[in-house]
């Protein structure tokens, strides 16, 4: 299987406009050799899942600072699963208490990164996690 670059959709979900993190991460993933699609602000879970499928991404990074993470992450996860895209890594970050992050992990959401998380950790995590998923998908 030829290795195409990792494709990542990064987007804000929910209504808040705190886009510093998502923009910095979009740049870091690009610098890390990935193809980044920037979904922009205020995407609904439906729009995120739709773009993810259309663009055939390996990972979706959602940024949530509005405390709606317990609503938004599960909804995106469910929509991705329903669209036959359960192999897509759903990760992200924002203002998310640890115990909520654990609950989301239990639901099949990937690791979530809080303020101050090193960019390198995020890039490495996406690369490794997508790598694992690709090799397990391989015939």
């Amino acid at each position: 299987m030829s290795e195409r670059p990792i494709r990542v959709l990064v987007s804000k979900c929910g209504l808040d406009g705190h886009d510093r993190g998502v923009r910095v991460i979009a740049r870091a993933l690009t610098d890390g050799g990935m193809e980044v699609i920037y979904g922009g602000l205020q995407q609904t879970p439906e729009m995120v899942a739709e773009i993810a499928v259309q663009e055939d991404v390996d990972a979706v990074g959602l940024s949530v600072h509005s405390a709606a993470h317990m609503t938004l992450f599960p909804k995106v996860k469910r929509l991705l699963d329903e669209a036959g895209a359960s192999h897509v890594l759903l990760t992200g970050g924002g203002i998310i208490p640890d115990d909520d992050a654990q609950k989301l992990l239990d639901l099949g959401v990937g690791k979530l990164f809080g303020p101050g998380a090193p960019l390198e950790d995020i890039v490495t995590y996406v690369r490794d996690e997508v790598g694992k998923r690709r090799s397990s998908d391989a015939p």
Binding site: L15, R23, G40, S66, T71, G116, P118
Partner: protein, 557 residues
């Protein structure tokens, strides 16, 4: 040294002393702990000062160009206002928190709205799901505003409201509520943030395209100039620009440039500069770099005063005074070792005080995790009270004035800002730069550059890339909001909609659309009338959207 310079200095000092005589002094001890009496200001004296240079660049406090402070006796007369930003859940929940803060010595209120309210959606809108009351209070109509201020005397407490996209609608709810409480609009004191330019640049919570948004802001400035002498219609905000990742000098320059843009629009509306400029106020961030922040605040006053007098022809000294609120930097706080945030916030607050702020919000230690708990909020408020009561800092005005370092940094801030103003002008002015995404790119570049410096270990964040604790303790207790709260609020909005006089609501919305279509008319009276009929936030923003359209930013990063 010129004798003219000496004379200018002596006259300035005399005028300042007379102004101090006329000002009141607060009841406090102004001696050092060792018992030394302290002057309220230290200054070079006519012999030591290079006369013209001192009066032109610094001046005495309360004198043009206000570098040393906007009032003659600053904190000797009155301390800054301790104004903690708060709001969560339903209006009734937040009403309780306000009463708690007022009982604990807070002197003004500051309303945080939830995301749906900030984006102009009612709590029962599909897009509001999961976000109602989460990071602020949910206000969907006048009915919610009535509950928010129940039992709070609006003629005595000044209220600041952080609302931008739908600012004029929320302002209409506020005015309508006060009038129903029996407080006439001209007695209301407070501020609406209402700074739409920085929304496009940084905070990204806008509803309409830039041009009609500027018209709505100008409507509120005009309305306040004519009807609400104690209200600050706009709080021109650098806070969010900085939080989005700008440098200090970008924060300074972009914010002031935005301010001048509002001034220019109000002048085009035909308003006299001195009829509205005394009520323009600013809102800055106080970040980690202690002296750079102090220099930024001092430079802001000097730049603003010069432009307002020399470029816009202000005559009233109050029109030239850059009065500002400050909030410590949320983005400087860390999730690991959250107690360290108390210390960061304390020195950021100290920088704001040394920079001569008029009011201050100190962040709570747990804000990287969730909305603050009551205990965390109290520590944050106590931090200000400690600085005010124990540090001795407010005893002397502008204690760093004359420091070679701080004066040099202040000059450099001013030069840096002037260079940025020139670039904005070259690129067609503020509104054009917003439409082109210029500010957004500049901030994005600065934010990524700084992040890379931290990643490379050139810069240190304690607890993140140095002095990291291997063992993390149990997570601190955080404020949890329930789905039940959201359900209650959604039901209340639905109930209100079924109980109102639907015909009157419809007619009031139609009148608003008519007014909005005519740029020569002011939208505020129609908004207040519709608010009194209990038209909701969503209905009112939709009516304006019908006329103005929507706005989306480009998808570059």
């Amino acid at each position: 040294m010129s004798t003219n310079g000496d004379r200018a200095y002596e006259q300035a000092e005399k005028a300042w002393r007379e102004a101090v005589e006329k000002s009141s002094t607060r009841d406090a001890c102004f001696r050092t702990l060792g018992g030394e009496e302290l002057d309220l200001l230290y200054h070079p004296g006519a012999d030591a000062a290079d006369g013209d240079d001192y009066t032109e660049k610094l001046g005495f406090p309360g004198q043009f160009p206000y570098t040393r402070g906007v009032y003659p006796n600053m904190y000797r007369g009155r301390l800054w206002t301790m104004r903690q930003f708060a709001g969560f859940g339903t209006a009734a929940d937040t009403n309780e928190r306000y009463k708690y803060l007022l009982e604990h010595g807070q002197t003004g209120l500051s309303v945080a709205f939830d995301m749906p309210t900030l984006m102009g959606y009612d709590s029962d809108h599909a897009r509001s799901e999961g976000e109602v009351g989460r990071c602020g209070v949910a206000i969907s109509s006048l009915a919610d505003m009535e509950r928010l201020f129940d039992g709070i005397p609006l003629e005595d407490v000044s209220v600041s409201m952080t609302i931008n996209g739908p600012a004029s609608v929320i302002f209409a709810f506020f005015v309508a509520n006060a009038e129903k409480q029996g407080v006439s609009r001209e007695r209301l004191a407070g501020t609406t943030q209402n700074d739409i330019l920085k929304e496009y640049q940084a905070q990204k919570e806008f509803l309409y395209p830039p041009q009609p948004s500027m018209r709505l802001v100008t409507d509120t400035i005009e309305f306040c100039a004519k009807e609400m002498p104690r209200w600050h219609a706009v709080s021109i905000s650098g806070y969010h620009i900085r939080e989005a990742g700008s440098t200090a000098v970008q924060e300074l320059a972009f914010t002031l440039a935005n301010g001048f843009t509002y001034v220019e629009h109000a002048l085009e509306r035909g308003l006299d500069i001195d009829a509205f400029a005394p009520r323009l106020s600013f809102f800055f961030n106080s970040h980690l770099d202690f002296f750079e922040e102090i220099a930024k605040f001092r430079a802001a006053r000097r730049i603003y005063a010069k432009r307002m007098r020399d470029q816009y022809g202000a005559k009233n000294p109050r029109s030239m005074m850059c009065r500002f609120h400050t909030q410590t930097a949320g983005c400087s706080l860390t999730a690991p070792q959250p107690e360290n945030n108390i210390v960061r916030t304390a020195w950021e607050a100290l920088a704001a005080i040394l920079g001569g702020t008029q009011s201050l919000h100190t962040n709570s230690l747990d804000e990287t995790l969730a909305l603050p708990t009551e205990k965390a909020v109290k520590i944050a408020l106590r931090t200000q009270q400690l600085l005010a009561s124990e540090s001795g800092v407010p005893n002397v005005i502008d204690p760093l004035g004359g420091s070679y370092f701080v004066e040099a940094l202040t000059d450099r801030m001013e030069e840096g800002a002037e260079a940025i103003f020139a670039r904005i002008a070259e690129n067609g002015g503020v509104v054009k730069c917003v439409e082109d995404g210029w500010f957004q790119r500049e901030i994005g570049d600065a934010s990524y550059r700084l992040q890379k410096e931290y990643e490379a270990g050139e810069r240190i964040t304690v607890g993140i890339n140095k002095y990291v604790d291997e063992e993390t303790g149990p997570p601190p207790e955080t404020l949890r909001l329930t789905q039940e709260m959201e359900n209650r609020q959604v039901a209340a909005v639905a109930e209100l909609k079924s109980k109102r006089d639907a015909q009157k609501v419809k007619a009031s919305l139609e009148r608003l659309r008519d007014v909005a279509r005519d740029p020569s008319r002011n939208t505020m009276p129609a908004l207040i009338d519709a608010a009194k009929e209990y038209a909701t936030l969503g209905e009112l923003t939709d009516a304006l959207r019908d006329v103005f359209g929507e706005w989306q930013e480009g998808n570059e990063f």
